[in-house]
Every structure is written in C-alpha cells, then in structure tokens.
Amino acid sequence: MKALEATGLRKSYGDRVALEGVSLSVDRGEIVGLLGPNGAGKTTTLSILATLLEPDSGSVRVAGLSPQNDREALRRKLGYVPQAIALYPTLSALQNLELFARIHGAGKRQAAAASAHTLEAVGLAPRAHDSVSILSGGMRRRLNLACAMVHQPEILLLDEPTVGVDPQSREQILATVRSAAESGAAIVYSTHYMEEIERICGRALLIDYGRVVAQGTVAELITLGGRQPRMEIAFQEAPMAGWSAGIDGVSEVPHARSDGKIDLELASLTQVSEILERIRGAGGRVIEFNVHSPSLSDAFIALTGHALREDGGGGR
C-alpha cells in the first residue's frame, strides 16, 4: 500500500483550471518532488493532499485513509509545511511546537519532549525560548518545518520550505527532510528550486499550468529534456570570426547577450579544452568561462518550452 496516493486530481476556481488530472503516489521513505513555476499548481496539489481543499474530482488516500471518511485520523498522520511561515510570531519556538504537537494529539509532557527533540533536530534548540518574531528568516523556515514534524508524521507535505532562506538553513532543512525520509516518512516536496529536487528527491513531477508535464527520477527527467552541455565564455579580447569552425557538435546559441559573453552548446564535456585552444589560436583572450551540464532546469525548459517563471499560471 502506498503511503500516499492521489489520482486524477482536478480543481478549478471559477473558469480557471488550477489542476487538471494530477496523479501521484509516494512510498514510505520516498521523497517525491513537485517541480514547477509559481502558479503551476503545486500548492493546490499539496492543499488537496493536506485535506485543506476539496478537489473537484479525483481521489486521495493517505495511509489507506480517505479524507471523506477519515479526515481527522488522516490529518494526524500528515505533516504539512505551508509555503508561508505559518507560525505564531509572538510565541516562542518551543511554544509554537508544543501547540502543534498538542493539536496533533500529544499530551502535555509528550508534546514538550517531542518539541525539544524536534528543535534539536532542526538546530533551533538554543533559540527555543526566543520569540519567532526575532528569529531569522532561515530559522523561521526551519521552525516552520519542525512544526510539521513534531508529531513524527507518516506523510510529510512540504510546500516550498526553503523559500528565501540562507544556505546554512537550506542545508539544515534538506538534511532534516532527508532524515525524515530515512525514518520512513513519505514526503512530497514542492519547490521551484531544481537543485533541491536534484539533491533530495528520488522522483519528481514537473507541473505546469496544473498538469503533470513529466515525472520520473531526476536523471530520467534530464534525459527527457534532451539538452546538451553548455559553455559560457567571457572575453577580454574576442577571437577572430569563425574560430569554432570544424569542432564537431559545437554551436553558438543564437541569442544576443549584452554582457559580451557567448553561450556554446557542446556535444561533450571533453570539448572544453579544445575550444579554449581554438580561441587562443584565433587571438582571443578568455577571462572567464563556465561549463553547465544538462540540468533539470534545462529539462524543464525543454519540456515546457519556457523557463521557470516567478508568477502567472493556473495555480493558486
């Protein structure tokens, strides 16, 4: 039995369709990424999985429980990390944790112990009694995550848990999520950070305009994107024209850049040294270059036809 299974989720707000036939399943110990631009439908999907929204159609089962029949029991098995920092700003970190632990059904002592343990896990034990309002953004994000984990849920739903955090907090959050998965939690991780998907998710769903564009492992998705390695070069002195002629599979990406750099698409990463030699031979002087392997982002662009956007789309 899947820890979480959603089939054919559809949700619309008036004429606007937010989700159209989204299906996913998550096993225990698995982290499934939901990748998509803002408004793609990730939050709507997670809200339906968290039983906060009723889908127009489709079904959800969490640990075999249906939200229609076993909503309260189902909710106790869930840990939901909303995209916003859903904390009481005037309460301390510990008080926030204890409250949600108790709301999830823990007794007073049990809640205190679980809260202390969870604070330790997210690296906030020294700040346990500090008011949320004086914590840094990264700390709040970690606490936001901790509040969803304090009752050790079977299923963890994370909606962009690392938005706007510092690298240290991001690492802490990712480590905590991985740890939860290793403890057997089924995790749905929504983000528009490709890197995070690549780092922690065994599988990912690419969502755009409320539809699942592609799904699979990261490698599978990159392969599905079909993109080549790229090289970005900045010149002190540009080489003579036609310097790249005769190098197999190397072509300049035809778009104008105002910063004097060029983008090359390579057939293989082994061509980098040859390219640099050619430039030098053509009188050019390179002051900086970057080499990009094909990434999930590339795959996303390839699959959706556009880069990740910051807004728009059909999601909520």
Partner: protein
C-alpha cells in the same frame, strides 16, 4: 473538537500575554477615555466638577446684599471659578477669548434695591454661542442659584414678617390684656365705688339709726324715770288706800266664806228638815261679792309705764350720701376688637414654586457621571477589543497560515472558532470586571446593591460582541478594512446603544433601531443595577435580549466564517 477548542483557548491567552501593550490597553485605553470623558463631561452631570471648574468673570455693579449673596453662592459652587472683573467690557472680552470661559455675569446696579422692593431683577449673562452646552449647564446652575437666593430672601422676608407679625400680635395681645385689665379695673372700681357708697350709706343709716335709737332710749329712760318717780309718788299716795282696800277685800273674802258656810248650814238644815225642807223658805240672797280677780285689781300695785307709743320715734332724716355718680367708663370692647385681628392669619409673602429631585427608583437622584461612563466606555472598548480581537485574530491567523495549519493538524475550524470565542469572551469578561474594579477605586462608581450581578450583563455583552466579531471578520477581510469598519461599527453600536449618552437623547427611529443592538440592553442592565439600584431580577429580560442577539450573531458569524475561512 473540544480539545482543539481548549488548546486554541489557551493559545489565545498565551498570544495575548505576549502582546503586553495590547493587554495593557485593554484596561488602560478605556480607563484613559473614561477619565477624559468623565472629567470633561462630568461637570455637566455635577460630579467632581472642581477639577475642571468653569472660569466665570463677574462684574458687580450693584454692591448690595443681593450681589454679595449671588457672589457668595457662586463661590461655593465647585463647578465654577469666579473671577472678578472690573468692567463689563473686560468680562465680555474674556468670554470666548480664553478657554473654559463660556459666559460672563454682570450684576447690574439696583438689583438689591429691586429685590428688596419686591420688584423683579435680572442678571445679565454674556454668553459664548459656541459653548452652548457649557452655557446651558451653567445657566441651569444659575437658575437654581437664583431660585435658591430668591427663596432664601423670601424666607428671610417671611421670617421677618412673621417675627413682626408675632411681635405685633404680642403687642396686640398685651394691649388687649391691658385693655381688658383696664376694663376690668374700671368695672371693679365702679363696683367698688358703688359698694363703698352703699356701705357709706349703710353706715350713715346705721349711725343715724343708732343715734336715733340712743335718743329714743334716752327719752324712754327719762320717761321711765319720770314714770318711776310718778309711781313712787303714786305708791306713796295709794299705800293707805291699798291697806283699806285689802281690809275690804279681806272682809269680802270673809263674807264670801260666811256665805259658803251659810249655804252649807242651810243645806244641812234642809237635810235635817227632811220632808219639811221644802217648807223652809229660801234664805235671802246675798249680793254677789266682787271676784277675787276684781278684788286683786284693788290691791294690785299701780305701775305707771311710760306709754310705748307715747314717745314717737324721731323720724330719721333722709340723709343720703350726696356721692358723685360714677360714670361708666367708655372702654371699648377689646375682645370684640382684637379677637378677629388676632384670629386673622398673619399676612405673608407668596411662596416660591420650586422643585426638588427625588429618585424615582431605589437609587440616588443624581448619578456619578462615571456610573454612566465606566460601563459605557467599558462596553465600547469591550466591543472594540472583541470585534478587533476576533476579526483581526482570524485574519492574522489566515494571513500567517496558522489557520490552515491548524486545520491540517486536525483542529476543526469550528473548534478553532470556539476556542477563540471562548478566550475572547473570558478576556472581555475580565476586562469588564477589572474596569468596574478600577472604576470603583478611581472614580467611586456605584456597583449597586448586588455587585456580582454586574457580571451577568458583562458576560452577555462579551458573548454578543465576540459573536459579532465573527461577522466583522467575514465582512472586512483585511487588516486595513477591519480597523475602520470594526471601529465604526463598534462605536456606532456603542453610541446608539446609549454607552456614551442617555439613549433618550436619540430620535425615535434611532431608539427603535437601538432595540436591535446588544449595547442597548446591556447599558439598560448596567444603569438598572448601578444607577437605579434595582435588584438582579430587573436585568433578566435585557440579558436575555443581549444573549439572544448574540446567538443570532453567532449563527450568522459561524456560517459566514466557515464559508469564508474554512
């Protein structure tokens, strides 16, 4: 759900304790406003006016006793602070130019004289039309003062008239008594004179009679002496004759005895003669001797008494006292003259028609302004706190995401609402209780005869306000709209419901509308308990009305909030 409600209830308190400023403002804000309103408007109610007495310039052009009485009366009134002005122009200039000078008073010359002469007199008030309310409040006090001064003057006049009447009456009574005494003395004198005259007359008569009797006695004695002398002479002359007569009388007596002896002899003879007695001729008859009495007269001594009537009584001379006739004194009938005068009611001044305040109910006639403002502004801030607390709390939680998070964590929305409402209800109740305690301590408000009863309308309005907060949260769904909307609604409900002023100030349509507001019934309850001093039973229906309206708000609020926030 109840567990979630309880946890949310506790969390609300925890959230409130974190907001120390908000917590302090729950009490501080109403106390500040109550103090401001109470001290500002309390003067109109007449409570604690000394702290903000109005400055009243006064010009005394009369300098009489009435003017002094007016100034003294105003000086004693703690609502005003008199400031003597030298001229009318100076006093007028102060009105409006300086704060807290709503009017100036001029006591025109001649006021005292007019009043003493029984003519009406008027003070002149120069008023600032902008300060009509203050002017009206002071004019009311002035009216009362004038009435009191007039009444006092009338009382004094009445007292003087009464004293004069009493003195006149005493004098009249004394005069009447003197007159009566004089009349009595005169009568007595007259009677005494008459009596003395009669006595003199009687004495004169007696003396005359005595003199006459003495004279008669002397005359009789002289006559008796003459008679005795005559008798003596006569005796001397008659003595031999009486002896002769006695001898005759003795002879006659012997003759008479011889006759009797003869008759006895004859009888014996006849007896001895027997049958021949008839033959014995009758003896010759003896002449009848004089009777002894006739014979005694012969021997009776001759006494010559003076003839009783021989001496005529001397006639009394008609000597009447030629006394001066005592004339009747022409003393009037004082009783007839004075009694109607004394019986007639003493003339007095007509009484002044005034009025006195008595409480219609069991409470005092005059209330402490804070008795109105503490519950009134308490309810106002309760409404603001509850409406803002509930609606902003919901909006905050929605914006923070905690509302969704709580639901996702298994707290039913109804439980969350219930917890929030319960917390706010308890906070509101505590707020009201604290306000009453502070009001009692700082402003000496009345808590009525059953202070604990105040918790009932407090609880009812806390419940209704909390429920209405849900409706606010459903109508105004952002911070920016809740603040003005909640403030306007809570203030309008407070004002129309009689929290800021007596509801009877309002026009009929507004009062009709007020029946649908919980504030109206709550204020009625507070007024009944605190000011009218009614028992707890008086607030049953108002409380039911408040709770009923709260239930309606709650149902509407829960339905709307579930639709909007759930």
């Amino acid at each position: 759900m109840l567990r979630a409600a309880w946890l949310i209830f506790l969390n609300e308190f925890r959230l409130l304790t974190k907001d120390r400023v908000g917590l302090a403002m729950l009490i501080l804000a109403p106390v500040v406003i109550i103090a401001v309103a109470g001290f500002s408007l309390g003067n109109i109610y007449g409570v604690r006016p000394a702290v903000n007495a109005y400055d009243l310039p006064i010009v005394d052009q009369d300098h009489g006793s009435a003017a002094r009485a007016i100034i003294a009366a105003l000086s004693r009134n703690p609502a005003v602070h008199l400031e003597s002005a030298q001229s009318v122009a100076g006093a007028r200039a102060l009105v409006g130019r300086r704060s807290r000078v709503p009017l100036a008073i001029v006591i025109p010359a001649g006021v005292t004289a007019a009043l003493k002469a029984g003519r009406p007199a008027k003070l002149v008030l120069y008023v600032d039309p902008i300060k009509r309310i203050e002017v009206a409040a002071i004019e009311l006090r002035l009216s009362r003062m004038c009435a009191e001064i007039t009444a006092r003057a009338q009382d004094n006049a009445r007292t003087r008239i009464s004293a004069a009447n009493a003195e006149l009456r005493v004098r009249l009574e004394r005069l009447a008594a003197l007159a009566t005494t004089a009349r009595s003395d005169a009568e007595h004198f007259r009677h005494a004179s008459l009596s003395r005259r009669d006595a003199a007359q009687r004495e004169l008569d007696a003396r005359l009679r005595s003199a006459m009797a003495a004279l008669a006695a002397q005359t009789r004695a002289a006559a008796e002496r003459s008679a005795a002398a005559a008798n003596s002479e006569l005796e001397r002359e008659l003595a031999p004759r009486r002896d002769a007569m006695n001898a005759v009388r003795a002879y006659l007596a012997a003759l008479q005895a011889s006759e009797r002896d003869f008759k006895r002899w004859l009888a014996n003879l006849r007896a001895a003669a027997g049958s021949h007695s008839a033959d014995i001729p009758p003896p010759p008859a003896f002449p009848r001797p004089p009777t002894p009495a006739q014979l005694a007269v012969l021997s009776k001594p001759i006494e010559i008494s003076p003839p009783a009537t021989a001496l005529p009584e001397p006639a009394l001379p008609n000597l009447s006292l030629a006394s001066v006739p005592i004339p009747s004194l022409a003393i009037p009938d004082f009783d007839a003259e004075f009694k109607p005068l004394l019986a007639a009611p003493a003339p007095t001044l007509p009484g002044a028609l005034g009025w006195t305040e008595l409480p219609a109910g069991r409470g005092p006639a005059q209330a402490n302004a804070f008795d109105q403002y503490v519950p009134g502004f308490g309810v106002t801030f309760l409404l603001i706190g509850m409406m803002m607390g509930i609606s902003l709390g919901l909006i905050d939680e929605r914006d923070w995401g905690t509302l969704a998070r709580l639901r996702a964590a298994g707290a039913p929305f109804a439980g969350t609402l219930l917890g929030k409402l319960m917390a706010r209800f308890v906070i509101g109740l505590m707020q009201m209780a604290l306000l009453f305690a502070v009001g009692r301590w700082m402003f000496a408000i009345s808590l009525g005869s059953e202070p604990l009863m105040l918790l009932i309308p407090s609880a009812a309005i806390a419940f209704a306000a909390a429920a209405f907060g849900l409706i606010i949260a459903c109508i105004a769904r952002t911070h920016d709209s809740v603040m003005p909307f909640g403030a306007v609604v809570s203030m309008a409900m407070s004002a129309i419901g009689g929290c800021w002023w007596p509801i009877d100030f309002e026009p009929g349509w507004m009062r009709a509308f007020a029946q649908w507001l919980p504030t109206t019934w709550t204020m009625q309850s507070f007024n009944d308990l605190m000011i009218r001093n009614l028992p707890g039973s008086a607030i049953v229906w108002p409380t039911l009305a408040t709770v009923g309206l709260g239930i309606v708000y709650l149902i509407v609020g829960i339905v709307a909030a579930s639709w909007i926030y759930d």
